[in-house]
Symmetry: C2
Subunit: 341 residues, 2 copies
Amino acid sequence: MTSLRDVAARAQVAVSTVSAALNGTRPVAAATKLRIEQAARELGYRPNLLARGLQSKRTRILALLFPPPAGGFGPTGMGFATAAAEAAKELGYHVLLSPESAAPVEELRHLTGLGLVDGVLLMEVRLDDERPAFLARAGVPFAMIGRTRDPEGIDYADIDFAATARQAVAHVAGLGHRVLAFVNSPAAAFEAGYGPAVRSSAALATAAREAGLDYVDGGHAGSREEGARALDALLDVRPDVTALAVMGDRAAAGVLAAAARRGLRVPDDLTLLLVLASARVAEIFHPRLTTLEPPSAELGRLGARMLIDRLGGGGPPRQRLVPCRLVTGDSSAPPRTGAAS
Amino acid sequence: MTSLRDVAARAQVAVSTVSAALNGTRPVAAATKLRIEQAARELGYRPNLLARGLQSKRTRILALLFPPPAGGFGPTGMGFATAAAEAAKELGYHVLLSPESAAPVEELRHLTGLGLVDGVLLMEVRLDDERPAFLARAGVPFAMIGRTRDPEGIDYADIDFAATARQAVAHVAGLGHRVLAFVNSPAAAFEAGYGPAVRSSAALATAAREAGLDYVDGGHAGSREEGARALDALLDVRPDVTALAVMGDRAAAGVLAAAARRGLRVPDDLTLLLVLASARVAEIFHPRLTTLEPPSAELGRLGARMLIDRLGGGGPPRQRLVPCRLVTGDSSAPPRTGAAS
DNA sequence: CTGTTAGCGCGTTCAC
DNA sequence: GTGAACGCGCTAACAG
C-alpha cells in the first residue's frame, strides 16, 4: 500500500505538493510535477479512496438498491445493474449492490448512515413507494429507475409506456387488427402499484382508443397455467380478439399452449405480442415472439448519469422516458379474413 | 452525520470509551456502557465505515467481478450476484459490483490498489484464467465461482459437473435410452476455456461411458440457427440418437424447431434435456423442457462465505462442488421402440 | 475501568 | 511555487 507520503519522499517534495500535482488543485511547476508523476508511476501509487472520502465527504460510491430475488421483471434486472455500474465506472464511480429486505426504509436508513455512499439508485419503484420520500427527507441524493405516481422534482429514467403502447398498437393496427387484448402481470404486482403493471395496461388502453381499436382487458397471469386460463377466459367472452399482448414470459408460454390446444395457430389465427421481455427471451419461443424489449441498459445508464450529475451540483431534475424497442418475430400477422364477427 | 464525538459528549465520556463500549474491544462498566448505548440510540449514531476502514485496514467490502454483459450464462449471473450480496450482508459485508473490461488484470490492479475492498469474488472463471494468478501474487484474498484447470490451494465454489452428468445420464438411461448426444455452447466459449463448456462435455462423455451409454458429440451452437443446424447434422450421421442434451436456451429453441421440421416430436421421438438453464427458462419452452438447473444462488452464497472466512484468518482452502438440480419437464420420455437400429 | 494521545492517508488551509 | 500543520472519524496504544 504505497501512499502519498512515499511518493513525496521519492520525488523530494512535500506531501501537499504531490496532492496538488496529482489533482491539479493548485499550480505546480512543470518540472516538479513531472518528477512527481514519474515517482507516482514508479511506485504504482493509487490514491486511497477511504482516506480521500473521509476528507472530502465524497466517496464516489453509489448504492444500487434492488428488491428480493423473485420480484418483477426478473432477468432484466441484471441489465440495469451492469449498465449502471459501467456508466458509473466511466465517470469514476463505483456501485454497491444492496439487496433489499422486507423493511426497505430501515435498510436505507442504515445504509445511508454509514457514510459509505454518496447517493442511491432505486429500482422497481412502486407508484406509492415510500423510499423516495424517505430519501428526500433525509437529504440523500437519489435517482429512480422507474417512477412514483407523482415524481415531480425527482430525477428518474423510466420506460415511456405511452410511446411503447402506441408503437404496439400501430404494429397490430398496421397489420389490420381491429381488436387488441392485454394479459397483464399477476394481480398482486398490479395491486402493489408496481409501475410497469399499472402503466402498461393504462397506456395500451389509451393508445388503442386513440387508434380506433377495441381494447379488451385480458386479466392477469404470472404462471404458465394462469396464462392458459387467461386466454381461455378471454376467448370465451371475446372470440373476436385477433391480437393479444402479454406481459411476462411464463404467462405468454401458457397463452401459446392454450392457443394450440384450442386449435388456434400463431400468428395465423392469433397475433401475439410479448411486452417488456428481452429479444433474447422472445427468441426461444416457438414461433419467435414479437416483443417490446425494455431499454434496460439505457435506463441503467441514464439513472447512473443522472445521479452523478445531481451529486455534482444543483440544476433542475431530469426526467427521461425511453420507449421499448419493437422487435418483430414470427408471431405477428394480419388477422384471418372473417375472423372478426 | 453524527459521529463518535457527539455520542461521547452526550454520554459524558471520552471518545475511546464509546468506541470500546460499542465494539466490545475492552471492558466497560455496565452503567457507562448503558449510558453510551442510550446516547448512541438517541442520536441515531452509525459508525462511519470509511474512518473505520482507514484505521483498521478492513473495509468489509467485497468486489464482485463480472464479465462484459454478453458473456456466458446470461440471466443466471444475477442469481450469483444477488445471492452473494445477501450472504455478505448477513455477515456484515457489502458487495461492490465491478464490471470487467477488456483488460481484466489491469482492472484488478486498479481496483485492489484503491484500498476499497478487502477481497475479490471472481465469476466466469476460465480454465487458464490469469486473474487468480495475479491476485495470488498481489496477496489479495479472493475466491472463485467456477474454477481454473488446476485450482489447488484456492477457495472456490463450482458446479459439480461429474455428479450433474451422472444425474442426467441416469435420467435418460432410466427411461431406456441407449444413446445420448450433446450440443455444447458455442465453439468460441469452448475454445476460450470457459469452464462449464469444457467440463460439461467431458463429464457427460464419462458418465455415459460408465453407464454403458453411447455418447455422441453434437457439436456447438449458440444461436437458434446453429441449434437447428446442429440437430440436422447430428441426425444425418446418427439417426439412432434418441436423447439429446443441449446447453444454452437459444440453441435448444433451434433444436426444437429443427426437430419439428423433421417431423420428430418431443418427447415421443426425441428426449430433450436443457443443460445449465434455470427452471424458469425451461418452463417457457413448449413442451416444458427437462433441465439441469445450476445452483446459482447456492454458489453465490458459498463464494461470499468462503471469501469472508478467508479474510477472517487462515485455514485450508475450501473447495465446494454443488450439482445441478434436475427439474423434470415434459420433454423426457422412453424412446420409441424400434427407434434405434 | 477510563481518559489522553497518536496516527491511518488524504485534502486543504495557511504561512513562507 | 512550496512546505508545515490541521482535521475528517475512528481504533489502538499507553497512562492514570
